[in-house]
Symmetry: C2
Subunit: 327 residues, 2 copies
């Protein structure tokens, strides 16, 4: 079996070999750019690992692995445009480096390329199921992004609504990647469905951890500035629960910070104050418990997959590594 690092190198090699020989060059330059910036390639590697559970040749589905990574990077490209984000992975986003139209049009062509590679060399007995799952997932991810946008303008987002939003926006793509790998590897229906649900729980844990690290992460490891979500009042799992729990003067203080206009305070002051409040009313533990809940749920679901434990070890080690914790 192939380990994470071997598959990551394989994916990066295949991405670097994408031809980009079509014209006009200006349409494809932003696509080449976003795919070259890097990233953890989690989705294609998960797909290859799921395939590798059932086949010794993990590299038989290079096109589908590329497709899911191209698709993921298209969502980042268009999301960054919609969010007016200037930087991604330490590099200027496409609408900053080129312009908004380049971001719209190149993103659109990436979505078409994702379909192109998803179909390429896909065995005819599986192509229908793979394409239907990929399409359903792409619709769900659009729905998740729409909820994310709508939640910005709402102050009454519930925990359940938030979990459903991140399930749609983040988890279903991990789940889809794993299931496509399993289906193409020849897994049983039960195994393929279990790997889908494993990906869903892993994705929820992963996104909640991302929220958590935005507050409690080590800046050197996290790779982003700490406190970004707090500064923009992003309705994360933590803020939603803080709004639900804070009482009395804690509540007054939180509401005050949320209604402060930008520029009327030092950023560090707001981050420190809201973090202190989270600590005081138990939000840090609450979020950590929720991450562990989905992490353990993922572990139980992986247990349902009808393969020897030894065969599933590398996949579980990857989950542990992604979440930075041991079960």
């Amino acid at each position: 079996m192939y380990n994470w690092k071997e598959l990551l190198d394989y994916v990066n090699g295949e991405l670097a070999r994408l031809p980009f020989d079509r014209k006009p060059a200006e349409l494809y330059a932003p696509i080449r750019y976003v795919l070259s910036i890097g990233g953890k390639r989690i989705r294609p590697v998960l797909m290859l690992m799921a395939y590798n559970l059932y086949r010794e040749d993990a590299k038989g589905i290079a096109s589908q692995a590329l497709a899911i990574e191209i698709y993921h990077n298209y969502t980042l490209l268009h999301d960054d445009l919609m969010d007016h984000a200037d930087m991604r992975r330490g590099m200027p986003t496409v609408h900053k480096k080129w312009d908004e139209n380049a971001a719209i049009l190149s993103g659109d062509s990436m979505l078409v390329m994702a379909y192109q590679y998803m179909m390429k060399d896909c065995p005819s007995e599986h192509v229908g199921e793979v394409m239907r799952l990929f399409t359903e997932t792409a619709l769900e991810i659009g729905e998740g992004q729409q909820y994310d946008i709508e939640f910005e303008g709402r102050s009454d987002v519930s925990e359940d609504e938030y979990i459903e939003m991140i399930r749609l926006k983040t988890s279903v793509l991990l789940a889809c990647a794993l299931k496509i790998g399993a289906v193409l590897g020849g897994a049983s229906r039960q195994d393929a469905d279990a790997l889908y649900r494993f990906g869903e729980s892993l994705g929820l844990a992963f996104q909640l951890q991302d929220d958590y690290l935005d507050v409690y992460g080590d800046p050197a490891v996290f790779g982003k500035k700490i406190g970004g979500d707090i500064l923009c009042n992003k309705k994360t799992y933590m803020l939603i629960n803080a709004l639900g729990r804070a009482q009395g003067e804690d509540r007054t203080l939180l509401k005050q910070w949320l209604s402060q206009k930008d520029g009327t305070y030092a950023a560090e002051e707001k981050v420190a104050a809201v973090t202190a409040l989270y600590n005081k009313i138990g939000i840090r533990e609450l979020c950590d418990e929720k991450i562990r809940f989905y992490f353990e749920k993922a572990r139980r679901i992986l247990g349902e997959v009808s393969l020897p434990e030894e065969r599933k070890r590398l996949l579980w080690e990857m989950a542990e590594s992604l979440l930075g914790r041991k079960s």
Copy 2:
């Protein structure tokens, strides 16, 4: 066989029956809106007509016909956003009625829906070919749009470059619609390819006619204000050839009008002056001849399709009607 009107009513009925039962409603409202505004439904009707050449039941490929119309309307939605166009078919565009993010995200979901319907109920023996053709076409249309954007900033666009741009941006979708209808109807490879080339030539004639009518059309029939392309210096077939042909004082006059800043002249004055110049140096006849060239080429290619002339009569009558001319 079904005539144009019957198939148009059928397509409009199917579009009106699209469920839109997914959530969030706000994501799907703009999609429902653009599909309800109308349009000539040329692409799905052409697809059904091509299918009907080989099958008595023209309505066996409703999903694919819907897919091509959803796809076409997604391109209009994103093109209008990129062109900052406020109106389409007499109604506000999505980014005006909602906002830019709604236009990006709803358009993206329309592209996914187009794939969803293109695959739906597609016979397994044809699904690979249909999806590959649709995907190649979608890439080409993105390339055509990119050339269109690039040509705005160039003053040396050649006639060949312009024809290739409109082939990519407009013709290949008509060609794709016809070929998919033929393939699904069970046409031979030769017939399916001929219908593709028929669509290409018809599309070129159709787009050149659109350019022509923008100058010489009857405003009441054309549905848009006359002279829009002249006012924005759009490098149409006519302007490209005028720049190539005009000599002496004609050339000086044309260059002057092209370099005038907006607001320094009355719109009607510029339209009248450039139109007069086109008339004087034979651009009107040149464009009319080019339209007839592609129209006749389409007629010859349709002649290659191995069916009795009577069987092809309705399709040819539709081509005549689209171009408003008789062969």
